[in-house]
Symmetry: D2
Subunit: 363 residues, 4 copies
């Protein structure tokens, strides 16, 4: 009896709500088409080490609503630059891509579905160039991948950030404070912009629009003069002043996550209190933005992406990454996504809308 054809799947990079929904959709849709599915553990690490599990219907039942990834993930495992320590304890890098490629073949994979951000897509592209049949699925809560209108996880991150801003509002009003909420976004301001508008933030600071600190002081003072003695500032972790940068980030060495510690949020709260005399507090949301039950929107988008990835396998359309474009699912070359970041355009319509309701962007 002939065996079923087989698809592999792996999740790379930071975890993101909706990954499990994609895994479920790929598995169910592949099974409907007579394919088996194996899932490599911990991103490309599982591919290099041939560490995988077979994904059954039962295993993907109930995971639609779960955050994270049942396959595990790894931010660092790169078959082409495998980190190990030499005898002296120094980090050296090895090319183990042959192992990855031979495991693909050993498992008689029809194709490999790679879920990941720009880093994972760069690796996927190298594997495509080395002859593997790969379909990419974009993943980033930051929404900064080009060529796709939206990535799953973003909507959920915005929900969590907005929920936090909603909570902060009552303290700001009750205490007449300036409250700074630092949200994710090292290079782009998508989460800050959307959660800032949704949460009614008075000032929104994003990396794409370097801010003038005096403009922030002025807004806070003007609000006070108009009887609004509180201000909500939503700031992307990568926001920065005009011409400046943030040295405070380096204060504590060996921090596991230095950018969180005394980052832009804390700096701003300090500066605002010192210069306006208005009591200020910072909240740094951090990893809770990556977690939680995905929103219905993200579950739907993830399901559509997963189904389309299998469609690509069925039609042997490899080297492509599925995308959302004008409400429909299509795809682009994986090679086209690796070299750029999708920034918030300075004249983006939502920025204009936010300005129209009085939001200050610090410029």
């Amino acid at each position: 009896m002939p065996k079923n054809k087989k698809i592999g799947i792996l999740t790379g990079g930071g975890d993101c709500p909706g990954l499990n929904a994609v895994i479920r959709a790929v598995t169910k849709s592949a099974h409907e088409n007579g394919y088996d599915v194996i899932g490599f553990k911990d991103g490309f690490k599982g591919l290099v080490e041939n560490d995988f599990i077979e994904l059954t219907d039962c295993m993907v039942s109930n995971i639609l609503t779960q955050g994270g990834t049942i396959l595990g993930t790894s931010n660092t495992a790169n078959p082409y630059r495998w980190a190990k320590k030499d005898k002296k304890g120094n980090l050296i890098f090895e090319d183990l891509s042959e192992k990855a490629i031979s495991n693909f073949k050993k498992n008689k994979l029809e194709a490999l579905v790679v879920l990941g951000g720009d880093g994972s897509m760069a690796i996927a592209n190298d594997l495509v160039n080395d002859g593997l049949s790969i379909v990419g699925v974009p993943k980033t809560i930051d929404n900064d991948l080009p060529h796709t209108d939206m990535t799953f996880g973003f909507n959920t991150a915005v929900r969590t950030a907005t929920g936090a801003i909603d909570k902060i509002h009552t303290t700001a009003q009750s205490h007449h404070r300036a409250m700074v909420v630092e949200v994710m976004g090292r290079y782009t301001g998508w989460i800050a912009l959307y959660s800032g508008v949704a949460g009614g933030g008075d000032i929104i600071l994003i990396p794409e629009i370097p801010y003038e600190i005096k403009s922030i002081y002025k807004t806070i003072k003007e609000r006070k003069e108009n009887g609004k003695n509180f201000t909500i500032i939503v700031v992307a972790e990568g926001a920065k002043p005009k011409g400046g940068d943030l040295t405070v980030r380096k204060v504590i060495k060996n921090s596991p996550d230095p950018i969180r510690l005394g980052g832009i949020g804390m700096k701003l709260a300090n500066e605002i209190e010192e210069n306006t005399g208005i009591e200020s507090r910072a909240t740094i949301l951090g990893h809770i933005q990556r977690g939680g039950v995905p929103t219905p929107f993200d579950r739907v988008l993830a399901t559509r992406f997963g189904v389309e990835a299998v469609n690509h396998v069925l039609n042997k359309r490899y080297g492509k990454m599925v995308v959302l474009k004008n409400n429909e699912i299509s795809s682009v070359l994986i090679s086209s996504v690796t070299s750029e970041v999708k920034n918030v355009p300075k004249n983006y319509s939502l920025i204009k809308a936010a300005r129209a309701v009085g939001t200050c962007f610090g410029d």
Copy 2:
């Protein structure tokens, strides 16, 4: 000193999460441009009776997150067909449109912003034909207005429906039951489709795809044979069997809301239990789908709509309804929206994706 120019605003039809966010955006954005804003109470009723309040910054502060409408609404008030009772107590209709028109002029309105669904847009269109300067903002939790990719309120309704399906899942699994969840959608299946996919519904029934009851029994039995001894059926209130219709709706006379009572959900649960022997229960979500804190997505969309409505006033682009098209805000003629309903296309990509993961549509 010259007085400010003035914009009027009213909300018509059923309430919908995001109405207040539009009212806030219109008010704030109008104020930024030097306009005053007055809000008519209870839809067109306030326009006919000249019952309004001036909307201050303070009044729209804190309403971004509130469901409903601070202006009140009315499903029935139509200036052109004003219902009243004659001496014998019979309902008769009067044309009070002149009152509406004269109140517009008496208040020296630059323009009137009308938030509403197809019914309100039909009235708005009549007023446009009678010479008033009007900008429409589409509102329906059902998402069935043509020409706009999405309406605010829909995303929130889908969140609530999906949340209910998530809750029902545990009972279904623990009790090995078929659980029917009836969601809103008298004419279209948008809420059922999106919440059904997001909630992992096994069977989704929508008005656009009349169902074959035997196909439903078959799916439930096959699931049981495959070891899945529970089934989630998500059904739009307007779903109907092939060639048939629902007489059960008329069982209890004088019901305030007959469609909710013994509607399709209850009927299906009855039929499934009788014909498959599997214990079945129905949940009818009803009005909770209209309420609650709007999702961040709906707050953002409502804000964009409100700002664009004011932009239209600033540019004297009247007789238009703002819409979302391919992620950008534009507008269409109000006259173009009144005559049709936006159905879920039978070959809609999300239906195909749902089928690909094994969802049954009863056909």
Copy 3:
């Protein structure tokens, strides 16, 4: 090598948020004490049919937050009155308690932990009288079990009901309607009382206080005269008028769940609209009150109950049901819980507090 001692566990009756948290606590705590744990499937059915699984640490990982029960449950399986059909298709009852007892012994159980409501406790008590070592854990979202201040699941049900009332509020206000919200509680008004007070219900109707319909009309009219043109009525499904009962429940025969259909909520909305002229709508929450992620309070209470159940096994304190009494966990004889229901006392302090803020109880 001596085998570990073994504890059995089963969940009976309707599902309830927190069951899995108890299963987890019993399993983890038993393992810490060197016991193995087996879980019988679908309540007493699994005990009669010797259908069980061994509960490993891995299996109870991640279930703390899940509604329902991973063991499945059954409302009807009673070893002493086992339902089957005779040749003519009539339902007859058999006593299979010997099977249950022999399976207890065959599995060399040290003890059996029974999670359930009054029905399950009655069975548990019979098994105790037949010599089995049993510890009971009370379970009912209705909170109507005597001897315990609170049962897990109740807090979660109140959260869900209150959330629905919150959502209904915006529609009531926007449309100037009377909105009836029917919540669970066939015999007692705990959920209605707590969610009614928490949700700011204007009228709360519970089985313990039969209502006078005229008192309801009066409240609604007085509110309108005081400028509050909406009213929220929270009603337990078992509420009834003074001296009367509800025939409307029987309207549709063979309904899988007749009490939900045209029950008290629908009846009230009809009556209110007809007699006050105020537009009225009913929402029947139904099964969503049984589902969902348990609240932190319920997870904590369930964990404490589970741990104490194992403590009882360790100390051979059998025939007891663990309870919460004045914030501490203790236990009572299982025999003491089977014959009564814990009603809301008419002079209960929370009823007095609700009256003090103007709530009408229809009396």
Copy 4:
């Protein structure tokens, strides 16, 4: 015509979910009894400066679900130690209690209801000693006030903290990390303990049980050996190592909130990563724990407190603070609450239950 008698109310100290529910209950219940209510702004500041508003039914409508306090609050305003700057800019303190007392009399107050924590109760007690008729209502999200089983706000804070731990879980599992979640509690571990148990925290660190860092490393390593390659550590901000203290808190001078910056959470994540080699991240929840829609439990408790405060006024029972004791509302002398903090007892039953399911407390 005789004027109504009058009650004053103010909210002091940090904001807390449920304050508005108390304000609403006091106002509604006072109105039902024929009293007027005035609310002083920003805590004792409003009393000293005679800055107040009259609380109407309309103003307290809709605030039951709102976090914060519509009256505003102040952490620092103390009539007996009024901070001002002398000519040289140094902070000096003045006794303005006579103003507070004379404003009480000028407004012909029957009584003053003071909502606050230990600081506000100390001031209230001084005012009682100076002859004012005062009823206290306990408020602290930390739950550390003696004589009351629970304070409102605590349940909501635990909900928010538990929700964050739930979200963090998926990242921890997907990335095989140790995730540290720092929750509020400078002096007591109530929030950490309850949210830690509810969220399934593997390690819970509270101020009452100084920890041994090696015990933490050991737990993490043992979990890894047992196949659980992630660990959740829930830590109260005031937790500290045995015999040690935290110098890292002082790293950045002039921080508006130094304890949040590089506090215990960050320190632990650093230490764990360095010493176990397991990737570690910290999340500091901060002010979001103070905000948000209060849970139904807190709304009910706040309503009961508010009603009982008015009962005390009706019965002229002054100098008392209302409390929750064994599920009933009673009261204690305000003087009895000012000198102690309610710690988590080391042998508290919930700590024992947590240990029983394998939770490590670092000792």
